[in-house]
């Protein structure tokens, strides 16, 4: 599955895009590849993620998913894409604060048929296994970020879209998260798109995308 932008300019950036940015040049993301998106703050990193996930539709130009214009996708189509093909970690995490971390993940796993032992093993690996029964609102931002990552990985996917997934993590935990994400993506033959990494912290295999 390929994701393509053709002369796509988000409404907030209309008339305010650099000639060498993807908004001007167009871009295609291919399955199995790794992308690190760089941009100054407020230049559309989250907007890019939201457009890719079908949350924002206020843009000119075309966003094509495997050659089909995304404008033709219905809400049900988008729900199916997000459940089976596009895994995501949002900048604001989008966790349910009123229920436990385990329940947050289990809701997603029940939708995708993902086994509890697999996501519990991932939680163990990220060091949050002992926090799973606590309500999410009682966890620190770093802990919540890791819960959101385990939840994102608890599904089949062809693209893993992560918006600043390690912004609240120390270097060691950030490495654990990136390693796990890359392993899962490799297992599924998926692409990874992430934002928020410094150039020096980005693993060499990532292809830079400049906005």
């Amino acid at each position: 599955m390929m994701l393509t932008f053709e002369r796509l300019v988000p409404a907030p950036l209309e008339g305010n895009t650099a000639p060498d940015s993807i908004w001007q040049t167009g871009v295609s993301f291919s399955q199995g590849k790794l992308y690190s998106v760089y941009a100054p703050s407020g230049k559309g990193k989250s907007t890019l993620m939201h457009i890719l996930l079908g949350i924002r539709r206020d843009f000119s130009g075309v966003y094509a998913i495997h050659g089909k214009d995304s404008a033709a996708y219905t809400p049900d189509d988008w729900a199916g894409l997000r459940r089976d093909r596009l895994a995501s970690v949002y900048q604001d995490l989008k966790l349910f604060p009123q229920i436990s971390a385990a329940e947050n993940i289990a809701i997603k796993a029940s939708l995708t048929g993902f086994s509890s032992s697999r996501w519990r093993a991932m939680a163990e690996r990220l060091g949050i296994a002992n926090l799973l029964e606590r309500p999410c609102r009682t966890l620190s931002m770093g802990q919540q970020q890791r819960v959101a990552i385990v939840r994102a990985l608890s599904q089949p996917f062809q693209y893993l879209l992560m918006d600043e997934p390690v912004s609240h993590l120390d270097r060691e935990n950030a490495r654990l998260v990136i390693d796990l994400a890359l392993e899962e993506a490799a297992t599924q033959g998926a692409a990874v798109l992430l934002t928020g990494l410094n150039v020096q912290d980005t693993p060499a295999q990532f292809q830079p995308v400049q906005i």
Binding site: L53, I55, P75, D76, A79, G80, R82, R83, D84, S88, Y90, K94, F96, Q98, I99, E103, A106, I107, K108, S110, L111, T112, R151, Q155
Partner: protein, 404 residues
């Protein structure tokens, strides 16, 4: 945790249940008013059309208004064949029958001592007949064949009332109940055309519809042939089979044509019917208003639940739930609650039917055992319609919540 459980949990925390129960109570009350009004109307109409009468419930009698001309000519206005055919074509009229009168002399005699409670008396009288189709001939041994000694008669119930409450009381004579009079036979002498014959008369039943003394058509034909003169003319009165004798439109049409409906009860029933229809219309309008308000209340409650849970529903949508999946638990919950309201309305309507029946039976009316199908038909139409509207409103609200 399953998505559906979570959706229900989120929604349960989003709204105060008291306002929902109020709206549901309003829906139940509105639905009950709707079916209850229908049931009440059906019960009263059935009672009015089911009076005990040897003449079935669907007949009425008409005559032309007596005018000064009739008085001078000595003959009341009669219906010729063309008029009879014309009336037969009116909407709501099934069949037209003519009254036949006696063209011979009749004398009835009660001999003193025939029955302990009856005084001896003798009187000239008249007889009429209508085609047997118009009389429930299975009842009370109606009918006559040549050679029969006994002649069954139907007399107006008012005659007995006149005797009991006028004559008997004034004269200090004993009252005669219907059952006693029906067990009494009396002598009926028929003569004319130079011939005479003696029969026994028996009261087969009473009617409130026809101010006449009816004998079987067979007897009338026989006796007119044997003892009558040859001067039979057009009938002065007609008996009609009507789909709904108390239909106000029919009454109106008779009045406009210058006909009178014999017996006040049909006219009275017709007026009561009009009044009942008017009241039912008012109650049904009120019921519809209540239902609409209740539906608005329930829909608004559902929308508030969805909007208050919008953030969680949107996240679930972003995790891969379809809007239909998210709306399903809410739709199910509201469908069950609407079903409960409909159940309450159904129960109340059944209770109303039973109470009406008990009350009317205590007052001596014959009632219908089964509740009215119109009442339940109306519920069967209204409830799914409400369900569809409610489910649509929920789908719409969830879609809007998902799209942010």
């Amino acid at each position: 945790m399953k998505t559906e459980q979570f959706v229900l949990k989120v929604l349960a925390e989003a709204g105060k249940k008291r306002s929902l129960w109020l709206a549901l109570a309003g829906a139940a009350a509105g639905l009950f008013l709707l079916s209850g009004a229908m049931q009440t109307t059906a019960t009263f109409r059935s009672v009015m059309n089911r009076q005990k009468d040897l003449l079935g419930g669907d007949f009425l009698v008409i005559n032309k208004k007596v005018s000064l001309l009739n008085t001078l000519s000595g003959r009341p206005g009669s219906f010729d064949e063309a008029e009879q055919k014309e009336i037969g074509k009116w909407p709501g009229i099934g069949a037209v029958g003519a009254f036949s009168g006696n063209r011979f002399k009749v004398r009835a005699s009660f001999r003193a001592g025939m029955q302990a409670s009856m005084p001896g008396l003798s009187t000239d009288m008249f007889l009429e007949s209508v085609p047997d189709d118009f009389i429930d001939t299975d009842k009370e041994g109606w009918g006559w064949e040549e050679g029969d000694d006994e002649i069954p008669l139907i007399i107006p119930a008012d005659y007995l009332k006149l005797y009991n409450f006028g004559f008997a009381q004034g004269q200090g004579l004993p009252l005669v109940p219907e059952s006693v009079l029906q067990s009494v036979s009396f002598d009926l002498a028929v003569y004319g055309n130079g011939k005479s014959a003696a029969f026994r008369g028996r009261i087969a039943g009473f009617t409130n519809r026809i101010q006449s003394v009816l004998v079987p058509q067979e007897f009338m034909d026989y006796a007119n042939g044997q003892f009558g003169d040859e001067t039979g003319g057009n009938p002065g009165r007609l008996i009609l089979r009507a789909d709904d004798p108390s239909d106000p439109a029919l009454t109106q049409r008779f009045t406009e044509a210058g006909y009178e409906m014999a017996g006040g009860d049909r006219l009275r029933t017709s007026r009561i019917n009009s009044l009942l229809l008017l009241m039912m219309g008012a109650v049904l309008s009120l019921a519809l208003l209540m239902i609409v308000l209740a539906l608005l209340g329930i829909v608004q409650f559902a929308q508030i639940l969805v909007y208050r849970s919008a953030r969680d529903l949107q996240v679930l949508y972003l995790l891969g739930c379809t809007p239909a999946q998210l709306a399903a638990p809410l739709k199910r919950r509201f469908t069950v609650q609407l079903g409960l309201a409909a159940g309450v309305a159904l129960g109340l309507t059944l209770a109303l039917h039973l109470l009406l029946n008990i009350g009317l039976q205590q007052k001596g009316f014959e009632t219908q055992a089964l509740p009215s199908w119109e009442a339940f038909g109306l519920l069967a139409l209204a409830v799914p319609l409400l369900g569809i509207l409610l489910r649509r409103a929920i789908s719409q609200a969830v879609k809007e919540a998902c799209s942010g």
